[in-house]
């Protein structure tokens, strides 16, 4: 594995600010953030509520534009793109995993996972094959035709991870992915992320919980709209009591 500094940057934030409110009475939320995440990194952004975490998430997720500063995603400047191009960027470069799963309730797991590829206008057959593989990989191979309401929380989040991976994005952007899960399923999802990381996927995880962030090899601490610390560990902590790997979960009935 090449040294982290040798790999190409995926996420580059330079002097990102974001203000709400009026021009006369601005309400700065982000006050100049510099951050670089390289290909294959697993980076947790930790911030208590009010630190500008959600605002940063929206900017990194290309859902919103910064007030000032430059944001390059996989080499392309995203900070000034028009809406339709931002949609393209979200579609092809970013895989979202949300706290409340955000699966479309009336579509099956497979259809949910297919959605990014649908908007990428991929032909149905190719789409289907790739997505079934991904569903298998996250350990839901036995229920691609189920509706989200028929799944447990952990299974829903696995489906969401599969969906995030579907478009083969430059990075996975996870927003409190374990926020709605109990500690056991929480650990399973974190393990899934570690597996993906081991496979070379770039992951940016945003959370308020230092416990969750502990798993990530790199932790960026956000406070009052500024990065206050950026620590790396050569050997990150393992998740609490790692017991079963996801592929084995699939074999457990029920």
């Amino acid at each position: 594995m090449p040294s982290p500094d040798m790999r190409k940057p995926i996420l580059e934030l330079e002097g990102i600010t974001k203000s709400y409110g009026t021009a006369a009475n601005p309400l700065p939320v982000l006050k100049g953030i510099d951050l670089m995440v390289r290909d294959g990194e697993y980076c947790a952004i930790i911030g208590p509520s009010g630190s500008g975490k959600s605002t940063l998430l929206n900017i990194i997720g290309a859902l919103d534009r910064p007030t000032t500063g430059t944001y390059r995603l996989a080499g392309r400047d995203v900070s000034t793109m028009p809406d339709d191009e931002l949609s393209r960027v979200r579609n092809t470069r970013i895989g979202f995993v949300f706290q409340s799963f955000h699966l479309i309730t009336h579509l099956t797991v497979l259809e949910n996972v297919e959605m990014p590829l649908f908007y990428a206008r991929q032909p149905k057959a190719a789409r289907r094959k790739r997505c079934l593989d991904l569903i298998e990989r996250v350990g839901l191979g036995h229920r691609p035709g189920h509706l989200p309401s028929e799944l447990s929380g952990g299974e829903r989040q696995r489906a969401a991870v599969a969906r995030a991976l579907a478009g083969d994005p430059a990075m996975i952007l996870a927003d409190e992915p374990t926020g709605n899960l109990d500690s056991k399923t929480s650990d399973e999802i974190m393990r899934l992320f570690l597996d993906l990381h081991a496979g070379g996927t770039t992951i940016v995880l945003i959370t308020h919980d230092p416990e969750i962030a502990r798993v990530a090899p790199r932790r960026v601490l956000l406070r009052d709209g500024l990065v206050v610390s950026d620590e790396r560990e050569s050997t990150p902590a393992k998740p609490r009591e790692p017991r079963i790997v996801p592929s084995e979960v699939a074999d457990v009935p029920g």
Partner: protein
């Protein structure tokens, strides 16, 4: 491909809320059904009139003798036992000689008679007609020949009959070998006419009725052998009538002159007749009145179509706005996963158009049922035309586009971040 999947998805969404979709589409369903059945009824009426005019001949003017109302006869009762009315030879000659546009005047004299076949008898209307009469009304024999000028000139005792007459008489042999007995005379059958079916207004105009079966004989033969006086006995008392001609068919040289000629004919008849004992039918006038109704129809139909579009469209608009609020989170998710504003617009627009088109199809089915009911329960021959189907479907599609555009645009303009947070 992308479009196909969106339509499929839209259909699935509609099927998820069957009752709601149905109620939403109800306005469209009734609108389309009414437009379609209206157009079909109008088209049926148009075809009926055209066929009617075609049967009677657009350049013809038909004058029928009519028994005058009873009170007008009172003065005649004293002067004799004979009731004289109807068209006279003088009328016919006057029309033929004084009006410039008339090509020909065809006189007809009718007698109701028993026709005998051996021991069977059938009541028939014997019509003494000139040789031009049958071709003018496009009545051509399916067997044998029509009447000729010579038949009349030589006072031949020949006749042309309707096939139904042969059926009524249970005659199974060769019709052309048949001799019919009318009164005391025998007439050789020389031609058989098909079982033509006239429309009911035309039957009146031509003096044909359903139960009478016509036997056509040469004009002069008829006048010579049967005379112009008729004595009928009814419940013991005799009634005599004298009618010179029962019908005149005047053919005008060109279509433009028909209305002038009709005015001339009416003027001549008015000056010769004190009583209203005749009736003038001008097929072209039917066409004119038809064109007037068509004009009214051309105004009413777009109004009905417009109202149905509006009512159906508002229902759809309403439910789509509600749907979009209900599905805000879905819209946010789709946007986050890379759907552009245009993708969202097309998704909801297609859903609306699918709803209105399905409504349109149901409306067509209902309209079709309406047409069947019209045909069954009234004498309107409503006709479903491809244009009415296309127009109805077009209206429903258009409604979907017109009223789906606003909700779809609103969905597309939602802020993805807000939409994702929506509970």
């Amino acid at each position: 491909m992308f479009l196909g999947e969106l339509v499929f998805e839209a259909l699935r969404n509609l099927a998820r809320h069957k009752l709601r979709s149905f109620l939403t589409a109800l306005g469209i369903i009734f609108g389309v059904a009414s437009v379609m059945s209206m157009m079909s009824a109008g088209e049926g009426a148009r075809q009926a009139i055209l066929e009617q005019i075609n049967q009677l001949g657009i350049r013809n003017i038909i004058v029928n003798a009519k028994k005058p109302p009873a009170e007008q006869n009172a003065e005649d009762e004293g002067s004799g036992f004979q009731l004289a009315y109807g068209i006279t030879f003088k009328d016919a000659a006057q029309i033929a000689e004084t009006l410039p546009f008339i090509d020909s005047v065809l006189p007809v004299h009718d007698k109701d008679r028993w026709i005998w076949f051996k021991s069977r008898r059938v009541e028939a209307k014997v019509r003494a007609v000139t040789d031009d009469y049958l071709p003018t009304l496009k009545l051509f024999p399916i067997l044998g020949r029509t009447l000729t000028a010579e038949d009349s000139l030589e006072r031949r005792r020949v006749c042309v009959v309707r096939r139904r007459l042969l059926n009524e008489a249970r005659y199974l042999g060769d019709p052309l070998k048949l001799r019919l007995k009318v009164d005391t005379d025998y007439y050789q059958v020389v031609g058989v006419l098909p079982d033509f079916e006239f429309q009911s207004p035309n039957k009146a105009a031509l003096g044909i009725d359903d139960r009478a079966l016509e036997v056509y004989i040469p004009f002069d033969t008829g006048i010579d052998r049967m005379g112009i006086e008729t004595v009928t006995s009814r419940s013991g008392s005799f009634e005599a009538s004298r009618v010179e001609l029962h019908q005149l068919i005047c053919t005008v040289n060109t279509e433009e002159n028909v209305l002038h000629a009709a005015r001339g004919i009416k003027t001549i008849l008015e000056s010769f007749h004190d009583k209203k004992d005749y009736e003038v039918t001008v097929p072209l006038e039917l066409l004119e009145s038809r064109q007037k109704t068509q004009k009214v129809f051309n105004i009413v139909l777009p109004i009905v179509a417009g109202i149905s579009l509006l009512v159906g469209g508002i229902g759809i608009l309403n439910i789509m706005l509600a749907t979009i609020t209900e599905r805000t989170r879905e819209i946010g998710i789709r946007r986050a996963l890379g759907a552009t504003g245009a993708d969202i617009t097309s998704q909801f627009l297609i859903e609306t158009v699918t709803l209105s088109t399905v409504g349109g199809l149901l409306g067509l089915a209902l309209g079709g049922a309406g047409v069947v009911a019209l045909r069954h329960f009234t004498d309107w021959d409503a006709v479903v035309t491809p244009e009415s189907v296309a127009l109805s479907l077009g209206i429903s599609c258009l409604t979907g586009v017109a009223f789906g555009l606003y909700p779809a645009r609103r969905a597309a303009q939602m802020d993805p971040i807000e939409a994702l947070r929506h509970e």
